[in-house]
Symmetry: C2
Subunit: 237 residues, 2 copies
DNA sequence: CTCGATCAAAATGAATGCAAAACAGCATCA
DNA sequence: TGATGCTGTTTTGCATTCATTTTGATCGAG
Protein backbone atom coordinates (compact mmCIF):
# COMPACT_ATOMS: atom_id res chain seq x y z
CA UNK A 1 0.00 0.00 0.00
CA UNK A 2 2.16 2.83 -1.19
CA UNK A 3 -0.52 5.39 -0.84
CA UNK A 4 -0.19 9.09 -1.17
CA UNK A 5 -2.30 9.36 1.92
CA UNK A 6 -0.38 8.30 4.95
CA UNK A 7 -1.40 8.83 8.49
CA UNK A 8 1.08 10.67 10.57
CA UNK A 9 1.60 8.74 13.74
CA UNK A 10 -1.02 8.93 16.37
CA UNK A 11 0.91 9.70 19.48
CA UNK A 12 2.68 12.93 18.73
CA UNK A 13 0.01 15.35 17.64
CA UNK A 14 2.28 18.37 17.48
CA UNK A 15 3.79 17.63 14.11
CA UNK A 16 4.32 20.47 11.73
CA UNK A 17 2.68 19.60 8.42
CA UNK A 18 5.21 17.18 7.00
CA UNK A 19 6.00 19.14 3.87
CA UNK A 20 3.10 18.04 1.72
CA UNK A 21 4.38 16.35 -1.34
CA UNK A 22 3.12 17.80 -4.54
CA UNK A 23 3.46 14.85 -6.81
CA UNK A 24 1.55 15.40 -10.02
CA UNK A 25 -1.54 13.41 -9.14
CA UNK A 26 -0.43 10.44 -11.13
CA UNK A 27 -2.95 7.63 -11.23
CA UNK A 28 -5.59 7.38 -8.55
CA UNK A 29 -7.50 10.38 -7.36
CA UNK A 30 -6.45 11.97 -4.15
CA UNK A 31 -10.01 11.99 -2.98
CA UNK A 32 -10.50 8.26 -3.40
CA UNK A 33 -7.37 7.43 -1.54
CA UNK A 34 -8.39 9.70 1.26
CA UNK A 35 -11.82 8.14 1.35
CA UNK A 36 -10.39 4.65 1.61
CA UNK A 37 -7.87 5.74 4.22
CA UNK A 38 -10.50 7.45 6.33
CA UNK A 39 -12.85 4.52 6.06
CA UNK A 40 -10.17 2.12 7.17
CA UNK A 41 -9.21 4.47 9.93
CA UNK A 42 -12.73 4.46 11.28
CA UNK A 43 -13.50 0.81 10.63
CA UNK A 44 -10.32 -0.23 12.37
CA UNK A 45 -11.72 1.47 15.41
CA UNK A 46 -9.11 4.17 15.93
CA UNK A 47 -11.87 6.57 16.90
CA UNK A 48 -14.00 5.98 19.94
CA UNK A 49 -17.72 5.49 19.61
CA UNK A 50 -19.52 8.77 19.37
CA UNK A 51 -16.27 10.69 19.29
CA UNK A 52 -16.16 13.93 17.43
CA UNK A 53 -14.30 13.85 14.16
CA UNK A 54 -12.85 17.32 13.90
CA UNK A 55 -12.07 18.36 10.36
CA UNK A 56 -9.07 20.41 11.26
CA UNK A 57 -7.36 17.57 13.02
CA UNK A 58 -7.88 15.09 10.23
CA UNK A 59 -6.71 17.62 7.70
CA UNK A 60 -3.44 17.90 9.52
CA UNK A 61 -3.23 14.17 10.03
CA UNK A 62 -3.64 13.41 6.36
CA UNK A 63 -1.93 16.52 5.10
CA UNK A 64 -4.72 17.81 2.92
CA UNK A 65 -7.16 20.67 2.92
CA UNK A 66 -10.69 20.61 4.16
CA UNK A 67 -12.44 20.30 0.82
CA UNK A 68 -11.57 16.70 -0.06
CA UNK A 69 -11.92 15.72 3.56
CA UNK A 70 -15.41 17.08 3.75
CA UNK A 71 -16.31 15.24 0.57
CA UNK A 72 -15.08 12.02 2.09
CA UNK A 73 -17.05 12.66 5.26
CA UNK A 74 -20.25 13.05 3.29
CA UNK A 75 -19.65 9.70 1.64
CA UNK A 76 -18.90 8.00 4.93
CA UNK A 77 -22.05 9.48 6.37
CA UNK A 78 -24.02 8.09 3.45
CA UNK A 79 -22.44 4.70 4.11
CA UNK A 80 -23.63 4.90 7.69
CA UNK A 81 -20.24 4.92 9.36
CA UNK A 82 -20.57 8.39 10.81
CA UNK A 83 -23.32 10.82 11.66
CA UNK A 84 -23.14 14.31 10.28
CA UNK A 85 -24.87 16.82 12.52
CA UNK A 86 -25.64 20.14 10.91
CA UNK A 87 -23.20 22.77 12.07
CA UNK A 88 -21.97 20.43 14.72
CA UNK A 89 -19.54 18.24 12.85
CA UNK A 90 -19.15 14.53 12.39
CA UNK A 91 -19.41 11.87 15.02
CA UNK A 92 -18.65 8.19 14.81
CA UNK A 93 -21.99 6.51 14.67
CA UNK A 94 -22.84 4.61 17.80
CA UNK A 95 -24.62 1.33 17.38
CA UNK A 96 -27.27 0.47 19.89
CA UNK A 97 -28.35 -3.11 20.38
CA UNK A 98 -31.28 -2.64 18.02
CA UNK A 99 -29.22 -1.17 15.25
CA UNK A 100 -26.61 -3.87 15.63
CA UNK A 101 -29.28 -6.50 15.37
CA UNK A 102 -30.67 -4.83 12.27
CA UNK A 103 -27.25 -4.79 10.66
CA UNK A 104 -26.66 -8.43 11.48
CA UNK A 105 -29.98 -9.36 9.96
CA UNK A 106 -29.11 -7.57 6.76
CA UNK A 107 -25.75 -9.31 6.71
CA UNK A 108 -27.60 -12.57 7.13
CA UNK A 109 -29.90 -11.70 4.26
CA UNK A 110 -26.97 -10.80 2.05
CA UNK A 111 -25.17 -14.02 2.86
CA UNK A 112 -28.34 -15.96 2.26
CA UNK A 113 -28.57 -14.37 -1.14
CA UNK A 114 -24.91 -15.03 -1.80
CA UNK A 115 -25.39 -18.69 -0.98
CA UNK A 116 -28.35 -18.98 -3.29
CA UNK A 117 -26.51 -17.36 -6.16
CA UNK A 118 -23.34 -19.27 -5.47
CA UNK A 119 -25.21 -22.54 -5.85
CA UNK A 120 -26.18 -21.47 -9.34
CA UNK A 121 -22.71 -20.53 -10.52
CA UNK A 122 -20.04 -22.17 -8.48
CA UNK A 123 -17.76 -24.63 -10.20
CA UNK A 124 -15.86 -27.52 -8.71
CA UNK A 125 -12.59 -25.63 -8.52
CA UNK A 126 -14.08 -22.84 -6.41
CA UNK A 127 -15.89 -25.35 -4.30
CA UNK A 128 -12.67 -27.22 -3.71
CA UNK A 129 -11.02 -24.00 -2.57
CA UNK A 130 -13.75 -23.39 -0.06
CA UNK A 131 -13.54 -26.96 1.14
CA UNK A 132 -9.83 -26.58 1.64
CA UNK A 133 -10.29 -23.54 3.83
CA UNK A 134 -13.08 -25.32 5.62
CA UNK A 135 -10.81 -28.18 6.54
CA UNK A 136 -8.13 -25.79 7.61
CA UNK A 137 -10.68 -24.13 9.81
CA UNK A 138 -11.63 -27.47 11.25
CA UNK A 139 -8.03 -28.10 12.20
CA UNK A 140 -7.93 -24.75 13.97
CA UNK A 141 -11.10 -25.73 15.75
CA UNK A 142 -9.59 -28.97 16.98
CA UNK A 143 -6.56 -27.06 18.24
CA UNK A 144 -8.77 -24.43 19.84
CA UNK A 145 -6.94 -21.75 17.86
CA UNK A 146 -9.51 -19.00 17.81
CA UNK A 147 -7.66 -16.45 15.77
CA UNK A 148 -6.88 -18.90 13.01
CA UNK A 149 -10.44 -20.17 13.13
CA UNK A 150 -11.83 -16.67 12.77
CA UNK A 151 -9.61 -15.93 9.85
CA UNK A 152 -10.75 -19.03 7.99
CA UNK A 153 -14.32 -18.39 8.94
CA UNK A 154 -14.25 -14.93 7.48
CA UNK A 155 -12.50 -16.21 4.38
CA UNK A 156 -15.17 -18.81 3.78
CA UNK A 157 -18.00 -16.33 4.02
CA UNK A 158 -16.12 -13.97 1.77
CA UNK A 159 -15.51 -16.74 -0.76
CA UNK A 160 -19.18 -17.61 -0.86
CA UNK A 161 -20.04 -14.00 -1.53
CA UNK A 162 -17.40 -13.88 -4.24
CA UNK A 163 -18.71 -17.09 -5.76
CA UNK A 164 -22.07 -15.42 -6.21
CA UNK A 165 -20.48 -13.38 -8.97
CA UNK A 166 -22.52 -10.30 -8.24
CA UNK A 167 -20.48 -7.09 -7.88
CA UNK A 168 -23.35 -5.11 -6.41
CA UNK A 169 -23.86 -7.74 -3.76
CA UNK A 170 -20.17 -7.87 -3.03
CA UNK A 171 -19.96 -4.11 -2.56
CA UNK A 172 -23.00 -3.97 -0.32
CA UNK A 173 -21.74 -6.88 1.71
CA UNK A 174 -18.39 -5.18 2.17
CA UNK A 175 -20.08 -2.02 3.32
CA UNK A 176 -22.14 -3.76 5.96
CA UNK A 177 -19.21 -5.84 7.05
CA UNK A 178 -17.31 -2.62 7.67
CA UNK A 179 -20.10 -1.12 9.69
CA UNK A 180 -20.31 -4.16 11.88
CA UNK A 181 -16.60 -4.69 12.18
CA UNK A 182 -16.36 -1.50 14.20
CA UNK A 183 -18.14 -3.25 17.01
CA UNK A 184 -15.99 -5.12 19.41
CA UNK A 185 -18.21 -8.13 19.61
CA UNK A 186 -15.62 -10.49 20.95
CA UNK A 187 -17.80 -13.44 20.18
CA UNK A 188 -15.68 -15.27 22.59
CA UNK A 189 -16.24 -18.82 21.55
CA UNK A 190 -13.61 -20.04 23.94
CA UNK A 191 -15.97 -19.28 26.79
CA UNK A 192 -18.89 -20.88 25.04
CA UNK A 193 -17.66 -24.23 23.94
CA UNK A 194 -21.13 -25.28 22.88
CA UNK A 195 -21.57 -22.40 20.49
CA UNK A 196 -18.25 -23.09 18.90
CA UNK A 197 -19.17 -26.67 18.21
CA UNK A 198 -22.55 -25.61 16.96
CA UNK A 199 -20.97 -23.12 14.60
CA UNK A 200 -18.69 -25.81 13.31
CA UNK A 201 -21.65 -28.08 12.64
CA UNK A 202 -23.44 -25.25 10.87
CA UNK A 203 -20.45 -24.83 8.64
CA UNK A 204 -20.58 -28.51 7.81
CA UNK A 205 -24.18 -28.05 6.79
CA UNK A 206 -23.26 -24.99 4.73
CA UNK A 207 -20.67 -26.91 2.82
CA UNK A 208 -22.99 -29.85 2.36
CA UNK A 209 -25.74 -27.69 0.90
CA UNK A 210 -23.23 -25.96 -1.31
CA UNK A 211 -21.97 -29.29 -2.63
CA UNK A 212 -25.51 -30.29 -3.45
CA UNK A 213 -26.17 -26.88 -5.00
CA UNK A 214 -29.22 -26.63 -2.76
CA UNK A 215 -29.73 -22.89 -3.05
CA UNK A 216 -32.85 -22.35 -0.99
CA UNK A 217 -31.61 -24.64 1.74
CA UNK A 218 -28.20 -23.00 1.88
CA UNK A 219 -29.95 -19.67 2.02
CA UNK A 220 -31.82 -20.66 5.14
CA UNK A 221 -28.78 -22.15 6.80
CA UNK A 222 -26.70 -19.06 6.21
CA UNK A 223 -29.33 -16.73 7.55
CA UNK A 224 -29.78 -18.79 10.68
CA UNK A 225 -26.03 -19.09 11.02
CA UNK A 226 -25.72 -15.33 11.15
CA UNK A 227 -28.61 -15.13 13.55
CA UNK A 228 -26.91 -17.53 15.91
CA UNK A 229 -23.65 -15.70 15.54
CA UNK A 230 -25.32 -12.48 16.54
CA UNK A 231 -27.03 -14.04 19.49
CA UNK A 232 -23.77 -15.49 20.73
CA UNK A 233 -22.09 -12.14 20.31
CA UNK A 234 -24.80 -10.17 22.04
CA UNK A 235 -25.43 -12.64 24.82
CA UNK A 236 -22.06 -11.88 26.24
CA UNK A 237 -22.09 -8.07 25.81
CA UNK B 1 -42.26 19.88 -0.78
CA UNK B 2 -41.32 23.44 -0.05
CA UNK B 3 -37.67 22.92 -0.57
CA UNK B 4 -34.99 25.54 -0.65
CA UNK B 5 -33.62 23.77 -3.66
CA UNK B 6 -35.85 24.21 -6.63
CA UNK B 7 -34.98 23.32 -10.15
CA UNK B 8 -35.30 26.11 -12.60
CA UNK B 9 -37.32 24.95 -15.50
CA UNK B 10 -35.73 22.66 -17.97
CA UNK B 11 -36.48 24.27 -21.30
CA UNK B 12 -34.99 27.71 -21.03
CA UNK B 13 -31.37 27.28 -20.08
CA UNK B 14 -30.41 30.94 -20.40
CA UNK B 15 -31.67 32.11 -17.04
CA UNK B 16 -29.55 34.50 -15.08
CA UNK B 17 -29.02 33.15 -11.57
CA UNK B 18 -32.40 33.88 -10.01
CA UNK B 19 -31.21 36.11 -7.20
CA UNK B 20 -30.13 33.47 -4.75
CA UNK B 21 -32.03 33.84 -1.56
CA UNK B 22 -29.91 34.15 1.50
CA UNK B 23 -32.24 32.79 4.10
CA UNK B 24 -30.40 32.00 7.32
CA UNK B 25 -30.12 28.26 6.84
CA UNK B 26 -33.16 27.53 8.86
CA UNK B 27 -33.79 23.86 9.51
CA UNK B 28 -32.47 21.29 7.10
CA UNK B 29 -29.00 21.49 5.68
CA UNK B 30 -28.59 22.90 2.26
CA UNK B 31 -26.40 20.03 1.27
CA UNK B 32 -28.93 17.37 2.16
CA UNK B 33 -31.67 19.04 0.24
CA UNK B 34 -29.43 19.37 -2.73
CA UNK B 35 -28.47 15.73 -2.48
CA UNK B 36 -32.07 14.61 -2.40
CA UNK B 37 -32.98 16.92 -5.25
CA UNK B 38 -30.13 15.72 -7.41
CA UNK B 39 -30.88 12.10 -6.65
CA UNK B 40 -34.49 12.53 -7.63
CA UNK B 41 -33.45 14.42 -10.70
CA UNK B 42 -31.29 11.52 -11.84
CA UNK B 43 -33.58 8.72 -10.72
CA UNK B 44 -36.50 10.31 -12.49
CA UNK B 45 -34.49 9.93 -15.64
CA UNK B 46 -34.08 13.56 -16.62
CA UNK B 47 -30.54 12.80 -17.71
CA UNK B 48 -29.83 10.41 -20.53
CA UNK B 49 -27.85 7.28 -19.92
CA UNK B 50 -24.15 7.95 -19.99
CA UNK B 51 -24.73 11.67 -20.32
CA UNK B 52 -22.21 13.99 -18.83
CA UNK B 53 -23.28 15.77 -15.68
CA UNK B 54 -21.61 19.15 -16.01
CA UNK B 55 -21.03 20.81 -12.70
CA UNK B 56 -21.40 24.32 -13.98
CA UNK B 57 -24.79 23.66 -15.47
CA UNK B 58 -26.18 22.06 -12.34
CA UNK B 59 -24.75 24.83 -10.22
CA UNK B 60 -26.73 27.35 -12.19
CA UNK B 61 -29.79 25.15 -12.24
CA UNK B 62 -29.83 24.79 -8.48
CA UNK B 63 -28.40 28.20 -7.73
CA UNK B 64 -25.48 27.07 -5.63
CA UNK B 65 -21.74 26.95 -5.90
CA UNK B 66 -19.65 24.00 -6.92
CA UNK B 67 -18.57 22.90 -3.45
CA UNK B 68 -21.86 21.47 -2.17
CA UNK B 69 -22.66 20.13 -5.60
CA UNK B 70 -19.42 18.23 -5.76
CA UNK B 71 -20.07 16.80 -2.32
CA UNK B 72 -23.43 15.55 -3.49
CA UNK B 73 -21.89 14.04 -6.60
CA UNK B 74 -19.45 12.06 -4.51
CA UNK B 75 -22.30 10.63 -2.51
CA UNK B 76 -24.29 9.74 -5.59
CA UNK B 77 -21.24 8.05 -7.02
CA UNK B 78 -20.91 6.03 -3.84
CA UNK B 79 -24.55 5.07 -4.19
CA UNK B 80 -23.85 3.83 -7.68
CA UNK B 81 -26.07 6.24 -9.54
CA UNK B 82 -23.27 7.96 -11.40
CA UNK B 83 -19.71 7.25 -12.36
CA UNK B 84 -17.04 9.72 -11.43
CA UNK B 85 -14.17 9.64 -13.86
CA UNK B 86 -11.00 11.31 -12.61
CA UNK B 87 -10.56 14.67 -14.25
CA UNK B 88 -13.29 13.85 -16.67
CA UNK B 89 -16.40 14.61 -14.73
CA UNK B 90 -19.50 12.68 -13.79
CA UNK B 91 -21.57 10.51 -16.04
CA UNK B 92 -24.88 8.84 -15.44
CA UNK B 93 -24.04 5.21 -14.90
CA UNK B 94 -25.14 3.00 -17.73
CA UNK B 95 -26.51 -0.38 -16.80
CA UNK B 96 -25.64 -3.26 -19.06
CA UNK B 97 -27.72 -6.40 -19.04
CA UNK B 98 -25.35 -8.07 -16.60
CA UNK B 99 -25.38 -5.21 -14.14
CA UNK B 100 -29.14 -4.95 -14.33
CA UNK B 101 -29.44 -8.63 -13.60
CA UNK B 102 -27.09 -8.27 -10.67
CA UNK B 103 -29.15 -5.42 -9.27
CA UNK B 104 -32.37 -7.33 -9.67
CA UNK B 105 -30.87 -10.29 -7.87
CA UNK B 106 -29.86 -8.11 -4.95
CA UNK B 107 -33.33 -6.61 -4.89
CA UNK B 108 -34.68 -10.12 -4.79
CA UNK B 109 -32.39 -11.00 -1.94
CA UNK B 110 -33.43 -7.91 -0.02
CA UNK B 111 -37.10 -8.64 -0.53
CA UNK B 112 -36.54 -12.24 0.48
CA UNK B 113 -34.97 -10.98 3.67
CA UNK B 114 -37.78 -8.51 4.19
CA UNK B 115 -40.33 -11.28 3.86
CA UNK B 116 -38.52 -13.44 6.35
CA UNK B 117 -38.27 -10.65 8.88
CA UNK B 118 -41.82 -9.50 8.25
CA UNK B 119 -43.11 -12.94 9.15
CA UNK B 120 -41.46 -12.58 12.52
CA UNK B 121 -42.90 -9.19 13.36
CA UNK B 122 -45.98 -8.40 11.39
CA UNK B 123 -49.23 -7.98 13.28
CA UNK B 124 -52.75 -8.53 12.04
CA UNK B 125 -53.39 -4.86 11.41
CA UNK B 126 -50.44 -4.51 9.09
CA UNK B 127 -51.32 -7.75 7.41
CA UNK B 128 -54.85 -6.51 6.86
CA UNK B 129 -53.49 -3.38 5.22
CA UNK B 130 -51.43 -5.40 2.83
CA UNK B 131 -54.36 -7.63 2.06
CA UNK B 132 -56.46 -4.58 1.30
CA UNK B 133 -53.95 -3.32 -1.21
CA UNK B 134 -53.65 -6.80 -2.59
CA UNK B 135 -57.34 -6.98 -3.29
CA UNK B 136 -57.28 -3.54 -4.82
CA UNK B 137 -54.51 -4.75 -7.05
CA UNK B 138 -56.56 -7.75 -8.01
CA UNK B 139 -59.37 -5.50 -9.09
CA UNK B 140 -56.96 -3.54 -11.25
CA UNK B 141 -55.81 -6.84 -12.69
CA UNK B 142 -59.33 -7.84 -13.62
CA UNK B 143 -59.85 -4.48 -15.27
CA UNK B 144 -56.53 -4.73 -17.06
CA UNK B 145 -55.52 -1.41 -15.54
CA UNK B 146 -51.76 -1.65 -15.68
CA UNK B 147 -50.86 1.64 -14.08
CA UNK B 148 -53.09 1.05 -11.09
CA UNK B 149 -51.80 -2.50 -10.84
CA UNK B 150 -48.20 -1.33 -10.84
CA UNK B 151 -48.87 1.21 -8.16
CA UNK B 152 -50.43 -1.35 -5.86
CA UNK B 153 -47.72 -3.84 -6.68
CA UNK B 154 -45.02 -1.42 -5.66
CA UNK B 155 -46.94 -0.48 -2.53
CA UNK B 156 -47.20 -4.10 -1.45
CA UNK B 157 -43.51 -4.73 -1.82
CA UNK B 158 -42.77 -1.54 0.00
CA UNK B 159 -45.13 -2.48 2.79
CA UNK B 160 -43.45 -5.83 3.23
CA UNK B 161 -40.10 -4.14 3.51
CA UNK B 162 -41.53 -1.70 6.01
CA UNK B 163 -43.07 -4.53 8.00
CA UNK B 164 -39.62 -6.02 8.43
CA UNK B 165 -38.92 -3.16 10.83
CA UNK B 166 -35.30 -2.88 9.83
CA UNK B 167 -34.15 0.65 8.98
CA UNK B 168 -30.87 -0.49 7.45
CA UNK B 169 -32.73 -2.87 5.18
CA UNK B 170 -35.21 -0.21 4.24
CA UNK B 171 -32.50 2.25 3.31
CA UNK B 172 -30.58 -0.27 1.26
CA UNK B 173 -33.74 -1.38 -0.46
CA UNK B 174 -34.60 2.21 -1.33
CA UNK B 175 -31.15 2.75 -2.75
CA UNK B 176 -31.33 -0.26 -5.03
CA UNK B 177 -34.86 0.57 -6.03
CA UNK B 178 -33.63 3.98 -7.15
CA UNK B 179 -30.80 2.53 -9.16
CA UNK B 180 -33.15 0.19 -10.95
CA UNK B 181 -35.95 2.66 -11.40
CA UNK B 182 -33.76 4.60 -13.80
CA UNK B 183 -34.13 1.78 -16.27
CA UNK B 184 -37.07 1.94 -18.54
CA UNK B 185 -37.99 -1.68 -18.26
CA UNK B 186 -41.51 -1.35 -19.48
CA UNK B 187 -42.40 -4.78 -18.21
CA UNK B 188 -45.29 -4.64 -20.53
CA UNK B 189 -47.58 -7.18 -19.03
CA UNK B 190 -50.35 -6.25 -21.39
CA UNK B 191 -48.47 -7.95 -24.15
CA UNK B 192 -47.69 -10.94 -22.02
CA UNK B 193 -50.97 -11.99 -20.60
CA UNK B 194 -49.48 -15.17 -19.20
CA UNK B 195 -46.86 -13.39 -17.18
CA UNK B 196 -49.41 -11.06 -15.71
CA UNK B 197 -51.55 -13.93 -14.52
CA UNK B 198 -48.50 -15.68 -13.22
CA UNK B 199 -47.45 -12.61 -11.29
CA UNK B 200 -50.90 -12.39 -9.81
CA UNK B 201 -50.71 -16.02 -8.70
CA UNK B 202 -47.30 -15.39 -7.19
CA UNK B 203 -48.75 -12.54 -5.21
CA UNK B 204 -51.45 -14.83 -3.93
CA UNK B 205 -48.74 -17.19 -2.76
CA UNK B 206 -46.86 -14.31 -1.16
CA UNK B 207 -49.88 -13.28 0.83
CA UNK B 208 -50.62 -16.85 1.77
CA UNK B 209 -47.13 -17.43 3.12
CA UNK B 210 -47.27 -14.13 4.96
CA UNK B 211 -50.55 -15.10 6.60
CA UNK B 212 -49.03 -18.34 7.76
CA UNK B 213 -45.90 -16.52 8.90
CA UNK B 214 -43.90 -18.97 6.83
CA UNK B 215 -40.69 -17.00 6.68
CA UNK B 216 -38.40 -19.31 4.76
CA UNK B 217 -41.10 -20.13 2.27
CA UNK B 218 -42.01 -16.50 1.71
CA UNK B 219 -38.36 -15.77 1.29
CA UNK B 220 -38.10 -18.22 -1.59
CA UNK B 221 -41.27 -17.04 -3.23
CA UNK B 222 -40.21 -13.41 -3.14
CA UNK B 223 -36.81 -14.14 -4.61
CA UNK B 224 -38.29 -16.17 -7.42
CA UNK B 225 -40.94 -13.52 -7.94
CA UNK B 226 -38.26 -10.92 -8.54
CA UNK B 227 -36.39 -13.32 -10.80
CA UNK B 228 -39.46 -13.82 -12.94
CA UNK B 229 -40.13 -10.12 -12.99
CA UNK B 230 -36.65 -9.50 -14.26
CA UNK B 231 -36.91 -12.15 -16.89
CA UNK B 232 -40.17 -10.73 -18.15
CA UNK B 233 -38.67 -7.27 -18.22
CA UNK B 234 -35.52 -8.30 -20.01
CA UNK B 235 -37.17 -10.69 -22.43
CA UNK B 236 -38.80 -7.80 -24.11
CA UNK B 237 -35.88 -5.32 -23.98
C1' DC C 1 -7.98 14.88 -48.25
C1' DT C 2 -6.70 12.70 -44.00
C1' DC C 3 -3.98 12.45 -40.03
C1' DG C 4 -1.22 14.39 -36.39
C1' DA C 5 0.74 18.23 -33.59
C1' DT C 6 0.23 22.64 -31.25
C1' DC C 7 -2.29 25.91 -28.71
C1' DA C 8 -6.38 28.25 -26.65
C1' DA C 9 -10.55 27.51 -23.88
C1' DA C 10 -13.16 25.05 -20.65
C1' DA C 11 -13.71 21.93 -16.93
C1' DT C 12 -12.02 19.55 -12.94
C1' DG C 13 -9.42 18.94 -8.33
C1' DA C 14 -7.95 21.07 -4.51
C1' DA C 15 -6.94 25.26 -1.46
C1' DT C 16 -8.16 29.39 0.63
C1' DG C 17 -11.26 32.99 2.40
C1' DC C 18 -15.32 34.64 4.64
C1' DA C 19 -19.87 34.76 7.14
C1' DA C 20 -22.73 32.34 10.31
C1' DA C 21 -23.42 29.11 13.85
C1' DA C 22 -21.96 26.58 17.94
C1' DC C 23 -18.91 26.37 22.01
C1' DA C 24 -16.52 27.98 26.21
C1' DG C 25 -15.47 31.07 29.73
C1' DC C 26 -16.71 34.72 32.60
C1' DA C 27 -19.44 38.08 34.81
C1' DT C 28 -23.88 39.28 36.66
C1' DC C 29 -27.92 38.56 39.19
C1' DA C 30 -31.64 36.18 41.77
C1' DT D 1 -24.83 29.07 45.47
C1' DG D 2 -26.73 28.26 41.16
C1' DA D 3 -28.65 29.88 37.02
C1' DT D 4 -28.43 33.12 33.15
C1' DG D 5 -26.78 36.44 29.72
C1' DC D 6 -22.83 38.25 27.30
C1' DT D 7 -18.56 37.98 24.62
C1' DG D 8 -14.40 36.01 22.38
C1' DT D 9 -12.90 31.88 20.17
C1' DT D 10 -13.40 27.89 17.50
C1' DT D 11 -15.72 25.30 14.00
C1' DT D 12 -18.60 24.64 10.29
C1' DG D 13 -20.83 25.69 5.60
C1' DC D 14 -20.34 27.68 1.42
C1' DA D 15 -18.22 30.72 -2.09
C1' DT D 16 -14.37 31.91 -4.50
C1' DT D 17 -9.80 31.33 -6.37
C1' DC D 18 -5.77 28.89 -8.27
C1' DA D 19 -3.34 25.16 -10.64
C1' DT D 20 -3.63 21.19 -13.57
C1' DT D 21 -5.79 18.42 -16.87
C1' DT D 22 -8.73 17.62 -20.52
C1' DT D 23 -11.08 19.09 -24.59
C1' DG D 24 -11.69 21.21 -29.07
C1' DA D 25 -9.95 23.56 -32.86
C1' DT D 26 -6.81 25.27 -36.04
C1' DC D 27 -2.86 24.63 -38.73
C1' DG D 28 0.48 22.09 -41.19
C1' DA D 29 2.62 17.93 -43.21
C1' DG D 30 2.31 13.78 -45.74
Amino acid sequence: MTSTISETREGGAADPPPARRRLPQQGPTLHDELLAALRDYIVEGHLADGARVPERLLCERFGISRTPLREALKVLAAEGLIDLLPNRGARVRELGADELRALFDVMGGLEALAGRLACERINDAELAEIEAVHHEMYRFYLRRDMSGYFRCNQDIHQMIVAAAGNPALEATYASFAGRIRRVRYSANLAKDRDRWGEAMREHEAILDALRRRAGAELSDILFQHLRNKRKAAQAEG
